[in-house]
């Protein structure tokens, strides 16, 4: 009844945003790197959510019928899921399909195949691996938000 299997996790939607705009969803499989990026973004004035993506947690709800609350209400998405695996590409495909108006910054591998290139067509790209500073600068550039404006806590 209280199983914590990955199958059970796959049926649950992540929690919605608790913080105000501007909001950036960071998809990163590595916890420490995700935290470092989140810290950089927070000090640049963004509320953040970090999601490890589908790694180890079954199918991402973003790619399923339930949808994903953090992605739905994000002002910008930073996607750094690697994309060697089909599940990661499925997430990226779902992002492009469900939220075409949400700015998407993808940390993309240099050796992309044709399918990946087509998938990234029109998205903003950073060559992987990107540093936290590069990601924060790119987010600022995409959102038009500057550090001088201070935290957007409205």
């Amino acid at each position: 009844m209280f199983s914590s299997s990955s199958a059970a996790r796959a049926h649950l939607k992540p929690q919605p945003w608790r913080w105000s705009h501007p909001r950036v969803l960071v998809e990163h499989p590595d916890e420490a790197t995700g935290l470092a990026i989140a810290s950089g973004l927070r000090f640049a004035g963004y509320a953040v959510a970090i999601c490890p993506g589908p790694a180890g947690h079954g199918r991402c709800p973003l790619a399923g019928p339930a949808g994903c609350a953090p992605a739905h209400d994000a002002d910008l998405v930073v996607s750094s899921l690697g994309y060697e695996r089909e599940t990661a590409r499925e997430v990226l495909r779902a992002l492009r399909t469900h939220y075409p108006d949400t700015p998407l910054l993808v940390e993309a591998p240099s050796d992309m195949d044709t399918g990946m290139r087509e998938l990234l067509d029109g998205a903003h790209q950073l060559p992987a691996p990107a540093s936290t500073e590069q990601i924060v600068a790119a987010v600022r550039s995409l959102s038009g938000h500057t550090a001088d404006e201070g935290p957007a806590d409205a």
């Binding site: 209280f2 649950l12 929690q15 919605p16 995700g34 810290s39 927070r42 991402c60 609350a69």
Partner: protein
């Protein structure tokens, strides 16, 4: 007060479901048998209880996808805000030293949060003041030691520790969280797995300082943290399992009690109705099994002095719904009748002696008359060829 809903849609959905449940209960009460409303109510309450348990378990065991969140940094870029969560370890020298060290770092603000750890039992009984005082005293002692000024602030909370941390994220907006606990949970201490729960939910660095009484502070390795989470999950599952069983038992007991009360009430009503009928019947005059009478031409003298045709008995008392036998000797050469349209009675009395059945279904007093043309005056006057049937 904390809203139990995570979004407006969820609140709207909950209101709609509550209305549907209410409608179902009302319809069951109005249209169904007496026992149906309590059963529907029990089903609704059971469904609510299961849903609440599911949500609570998901929260406790971290079944949601591990999306961490944090608000934007508050203050200038050089400022750093540290939230320290502690209760029973606040007297530890190592923790106090760590607080002093943090407070001495330039541009660092520290908030010392002391959850009062009020158990559900204490909330129910209202015994929260002692726990709040205890938390307040621990906080005061710690602040007296490290010095409370603009750099170090403190607060106690009567909320669940995790909710207290969430509240602190909304007001203090920390850039780092330090959770201080013992290796094992003390009677009035924070759960060691609190650090893991905070780490799962918030996108800021979380340090877990663990104390062994009298020893220096340590930070547990990943395996130990994982063990804390696992043990906590198992304990939470056991606790909720027991609560669910107790809840189901209480619900079943309440339901059975309600059904028993309803059935008892119905039995009482039926008994009372039966007794009332018996009493009513007992109070009635006895009625003969068969009533003997005759129809005789020119039998009875009228007020004008002339003789008229007449039934020898013209007033009949019967029990409503019960047949009454009439043995009638019609001495005339033509048929007569006992006709009472309002009572649904029409008995044709042929010449000779025959037995007839008089049946009136509803109580009342009904006029009858002979519908065959005979003595015209007598047909219009009770006591002659007319009379009354009293059904009781």
């Amino acid at each position: 007060m904390r809203s139990p809903f995570q979004s407006e849609q969820e609140a709207f959905r909950s209101v709609m479901l509550a209305m549907l449940a209410l409608i179902a209960v009302v319809l069951a009460a109005v249209l169904g048998p007496t026992w149906l409303a309590p059963v529907v109510l029990a089903v609704v309450l059971g469904a609510v209880a299961v849903r609440v348990a599911q949500v609570r378990m998901r929260k406790l065991r971290g079944l949601e996808l591990p999306v961490k969140m944090a608000p934007a940094h508050l203050g200038s870029a050089s400022e750093r805000r540290v939230l320290v969560v502690a209760n029973d370890t606040l007297s530890e020298e190592a923790l106090l030293s760590e607080l002093e060290r943090l407070a001495s770092v330039p541009h660092t603000h520290v908030l010392l949060l002391v959850p009062a750890l009020i158990s559900p039992g204490a909330r129910l009984t209202g015994a929260v003041d002692g726990l709040l005082d205890q938390a307040r005293l621990r906080l005061k002692t710690a602040l007296d030691r490290v010095g409370h000024d603009l750099v170090v602030g403190g607060g106690i909370s009567d909320a669940d520790p995790l909710e207290a941390v969430e509240d602190a994220f909304a007001t203090f907006v920390p850039d780092e969280v330090i959770v201080s606990t013992g290796w094992e949970r003390a009677a009035n201490g924070l759960e060691p797995q609190l650090a893991g729960l905070v780490r799962e939910r918030f996108a800021v660095p979380v340090r877990h300082l663990v104390f062994e009484p009298g020893s220096v502070t340590q930070e547990p390795d990943k395996d130990t943290e994982a063990r804390y989470r696992h043990e906590f999950g198992e304990a939470a599952a056991r606790k909720f399992g027991l609560k669910a069983l107790a809840g189901a038992g209480i619900l079943a007991a309440v339901l059975l009690s309600v059904v028993a009360v309803v059935q008892s009430s119905e039995r009482d009503e039926a008994r009372a109705a039966s007794q009332a009928t018996a009493a009513q019947t007992a109070g009635l005059p006895p009625i003969a099994k068969v009533v003997d009478l005759s129809v005789i031409p020119e039998y009875k003298r009228g007020p004008e002095g002339e003789k008229h045709d007449a039934f020898t008995t013209t007033d009949f008392t019967v029990r409503a719904g019960q047949p009454q036998q009439l043995r009638i000797d019609n001495t005339d050469t033509v048929p007569h009748s006992i006709t009472a349209p309002e009572a649904g009675v029409k008995i044709v009395v042929i010449p000779g002696t025959h037995t007839y059945t008089l049946l009136v279904k509803q109580p009342g007093r009904f006029l009858w008359f002979c519908s065959f043309v005979c003595d015209e005056w007598a047909m219009q006057h009770p006591g002659y060829m007319s009379g009354y049937i009293s059904a009781i």
